[in-house]
């Protein structure tokens, strides 16, 4: 569960505190399609809203104190929405606030202060759309970053002794570079220094649902960012195999009894994949010839429907049965999308290190 906090302003109330479910629904709608199109997974979570009391000169210390009154809310709050500017004061313990949103004359993304990683200023024109858009972007981005494939790269990054703050700064740097290289944003001024949401970068208009173009832009943003800035943290073959076999991607094949077990559309079990098969695949220099992003496509039911259509794209074992695994490069994955959409294939986006010389083990 993640939270946003909204400052009560009576009639100027910028955002109801009860809108979390709408945000979640829209975000997961978008990300479900993103998963099919790019193999980038996501972790959906509840989004909660918190009231903050209005005060003429609200500062972050006040906000921190108010949020601290609720157990577990402070650490999980990502955005504060207020009408008036929030005074950023240095606190001893900073909290993990991504953005503060406030009203002003222009539509801009400003550098953050001591305790917030950025400030988004919203002008009166299409105010509601702009608030909705920025909140969706932040939470959507958190959902993507929490997906096991990206989270595992971030875990390697942190294991090398660097902090999340550095990671967010890298994101902001990448976003600035992308904009300098010609990627457009809707902001009149765009100067993130400590945090940037890639969803905001991919956005072409203020609508909540993403178009296909926006989704591919978002996927490209994340993949290029990881390739450009975090290539040293990509997974080894063993790490990737463990990830694919791990609980993060699991669901069991247990039957549904009393509502337990996997629900419709839940991921199918991949525990049956043998580790050495996966490791062999990830060490194949024919495929993993350089560090980068690949999509592991797993056939859900090797003797299930659609097998005839798929047989052209998957290898066969000497016995003639289809091999249920294929590691695709980005372009190869395009051909798999239709199977993923049908539910025949499960895609797992993986960021892999270059396979070691010496070929298969």
């Amino acid at each position: 569960m993640r939270h946003y906090a909204t400052v009560d302003g009576g009639e100027d109330n910028p955002l109801p505190a009860s809108s979390g479910s709408i945000l979640k629904k829209t975000a997961t709608d978008n990300l479900r399609k993103l998963r099919i199109e790019s193999g980038l997974d996501y972790v959906g979570f509840e989004i909660g809203g918190r009231h903050l009391d209005y005060a003429p000169d609200l500062n972050l210390a006040d906000i921190r104190r108010q949020l601290d009154a609720h157990a577990g809310v402070l650490d999980k709050t990502r955005v504060v929405v207020a009408c008036d500017p929030i005074v950023d004061v240095a606190l001893e313990v900073g909290f993990n606030l991504f953005l503060s949103v406030q009203f002003g004359e222009d539509y801009e993304w400003k550098p953050g202060g001591a305790n917030s990683a950025g400030t988004v200023v919203i002008d009166p024109d299409h105010r509601l759309q702009k608030i909705s858009a920025i909140l969706l972007d932040v939470f959507q981005d958190v959902m993507i970053a929490n997906s096991p494939s990206i989270a595992s790269v971030i875990a390697n990054y942190r294991a090398s002794g660097r902090s999340m703050k550095d990671f967010y700064a890298l994101k902001a740097e990448f976003a600035r570079e992308a904009v300098a290289a010609g990627a457009g944003t809707l902001f009149e001024r765009y100067e993130p220094t400590q945090y940037a949401a890639f969803s905001a970068l991919a956005r072409k208009d203020l609508y909540q649902s993403m178009t296909q173009g926006e989704r591919s832009g978002l996927a490209r943003c994340w993949i290029e960012f990881l390739n450009a800035k975090l290539v040293d943290c990509f997974l080894t073959a063993e790490q990737a195999a463990r990830l694919v076999r791990s609980e993060a991607f699991r669901t069991t094949t247990a039957p549904r009894v009393d509502g337990s077990g996997p629900k419709t559309n839940e991921r199918t079990r991949r525990g049956f994949l043998r580790e050495r098969d996966l490791v062999a695949l990830f060490r194949d220099r024919q495929v993993v010839h350089e560090a980068g992003s690949y999509v592991l496509c797993i056939v859900n039911r090797p003797n299930g429907p659609g097998i005839d259509q798929m047989s052209a794209f998957f290898d066969r074992s000497p016995g003639g049965a289809i091999r249920p695994l294929k590691l695709c490069s980005g372009r190869q994955y395009d051909k798999m999308k239709d199977f993923v959409r049908e539910g025949w294939v499960t895609p797992v986006r993986l960021f892999l290190q270059e396979a070691p010389r010496g070929g298969r083990p």
């Binding site: 009560d8 009860s18 209005y54 003429p56 105010r127 608030i131 909140l135 649902s209 178009t211």
Partner: protein, 431 residues
Amino acid sequence: MTAYIGIADLTVRLSSMNPLNLIDVNGANAKLEQRTITACRHVYDKARDDTEKRALERFGIVREGAAAKYFELKDPALCREFLIKLRSALLQDALPFKICVRLGELTRTTLRDQWKDVMSAAKSGEEPAKSAALKALSDQFGVVDATRIETLFDLYRASSLQDDGAQLSLDFEAFKGLGIALDVGPSDPIHTIGAGTFRNHYPVRRRMNAFDPVEYFDLLFVDEPDDIVERFIGTEFTNGSDEEEGPTSDGVTEEVMPAGMGSIIDQVFLLLSRSVAADPAHAGFYISILTTLVRSGSYRALTYLSRPEGGSGRRRASGWQKAPPIFGAVLTRRKNLAILTKIVGIELVVGSLVDEVYSAVAGQPSSAAAVRTGDNAGEVEAVKADDRMQRLVKTIHAAYGPTWLRKVLNLPEAVLSPERKRVLLAVVTAP
């Protein structure tokens, strides 16, 4: 001195509104208190200058009420802030509440103060006054002995309710709805409490299927022209042609903005479904808040598309576009309609919707406006010719069945004016 006095209370304490115990009453009481305090704080922060602040500090806002909160505010603008703030906070917490406001005075006198003159007259007054005083004392207290009455004053320490306070309690009992009911004098409510006042109705059941609409003044939510729902179809998943007619439900994404009223409407329907689960008759209490939401929507941009529109990026779905979130909630969402169509008095909501769409098409204030001017003939013709009214009639017909028209035509003038009823009839009977 006259001021705005009011009561705010939750309706869940009445077992009829919460028979399934879906709302934790103690928690709800605590929340009501918190939200009332927030509203007080908000009003204090909104006070324009130090004089106003000093006045608030001196007299206070919430006077009494362990359960129901009795409040008093002298300034109309601040009273308005208080009401709007409290309403939005309670709705976001999904708490059913009602607030009644009238002009008057919540009392500050104790029994002792109130009877001071009578007591002194009984002790030492002239003869006719003295016997009258003694009689009054005997009527009220049963005894005339001064010492005994002093003891009674000690025993009964509650402040004595004046007429206004008692009337307020009666208003509160009588108001069978959710939301704000203003009884701010017969003259001109706009000048007393501010813009956004309109005539609303709540139904009082007369027989099984008949009700009497009772008129009262209500406050609109703030008007946000941008708070509209747009509906798109994904180009990537549909291979249908542009020729398809009529709304398609498959693959249509409704864009409800989190920053708009959408989530508050969801909360109202959540409460409604709970109340109906307990007893369908309770649904009538929700007519008032539904009407308020319908009247607060922005219909200026409302359009109807008979076929999908747009190119490769975004395609607008056919059907209603750019409607406020409440429009879809009361007209097209099947889950809601299953409840709404059975409510006795729902025509108050449907009638308001027709009136609001008419007002938007004609560019006229609504029939419920506190001060109304008649429609002129040119606009009537324009409305008759407008496609949206015909489409609206068809949509309502599909949602509420053929009897809606007769019911709507029977509504009071302040829901749908007689001219508008005539136009509606002309639209329905148009070839």
